[in-house]
Symmetry: C2
Subunit: 109 residues, 2 copies
Amino acid sequence: MGITKTEIFTDKQNQIAQYAKVLGHPARVAILQYLYKLNACVCGDLVDEIGLAQPTISQHLKELKHLGLIKGNVEGTSVCYCIDADNWKKMKTVMSEFLDQDLNQKDCC
Amino acid sequence: MGITKTEIFTDKQNQIAQYAKVLGHPARVAILQYLYKLNACVCGDLVDEIGLAQPTISQHLKELKHLGLIKGNVEGTSVCYCIDADNWKKMKTVMSEFLDQDLNQKDCC
DNA sequence: TTTATTCATTGCAATATTACGATTAATAGT
DNA sequence: ACTATTAATCGTAATATTGCAATGAATAAA
C-alpha cells in the first residue's frame, strides 16, 4: 500500500535500503558529486549547477542531511553545504559489505 | 510531479541512481542476501523466507531481473532464481567508484 | 482429463516521491 | 526602516511505489 513493511526485516537490511534509497535519485547523486568536486564547502549555486528549481534542490538537500551524508552551515544569507566525511565512511562500510557478498561465494546455476 | 527529470543528468548519474534505487527496498536487499546465502540456485520459497505475499515477492523479483541482478530458470512448475554474477560485478564497479570519491578528497569545512 | 502446484499478471487502494509556484524567514546592505 | 538576496517551508499536482486479493498460465501428478 505504498508503505514499506520495515518490521519484517533486519536492522541491517533496513539500513542498507535506507542508504540506497537516498542515493536512488540522480539529483542527489549529482549534488554529492558536486560537493565532492569542489572539495571545500559550497553554497547554494547547486541550483544553477543542477537544472532544478530551488525548492526541489532544497528538498533533496534535506533528505541528504536527514541521513547525515551532508551538513550545512549558515553563512549570512546563504548556506554552505559539505560532505559529512564520517557518515560517508559509515555508509561506505555498510554498502561495501553488502556489495562484497559475492567474494565469499561460489558459482551457482 | 512524481517523475524524475533524467534528461538533465549524465548517464553515469542515472545509472548509479538506478542501481541504488533497486537496492532501496529491504525486501529486495533480503532477496539478494538469501540468494547469495544459498549459493546454489533457489526456488520460490522466498515467499516463505521473507514475510510478504507471493505477488509482492514476484514484483520485487521482476525489478531485480529487469536490472539484470538476478536470473530465473523455469524448472517444472517452479522457477529457480539466482544471482547474475557478471552483472553484480558491473554494479559493484559502478557503485564502488561512486562510494570511493572520498579517497581523492581533502577535508572541507 | 482432472487436479494440484507454482508463479506471473491484473486491478486496485493506500501511501510516497518528485517537482514547482507562492510564500515566509532571516540576514545583509543601503 | 527599506530593499535585495538566499534558502526553507507550504501547498498542490502528477506520477511512482508498495502491497495484496483475484485471476490466469503452465506444468506435473493422479
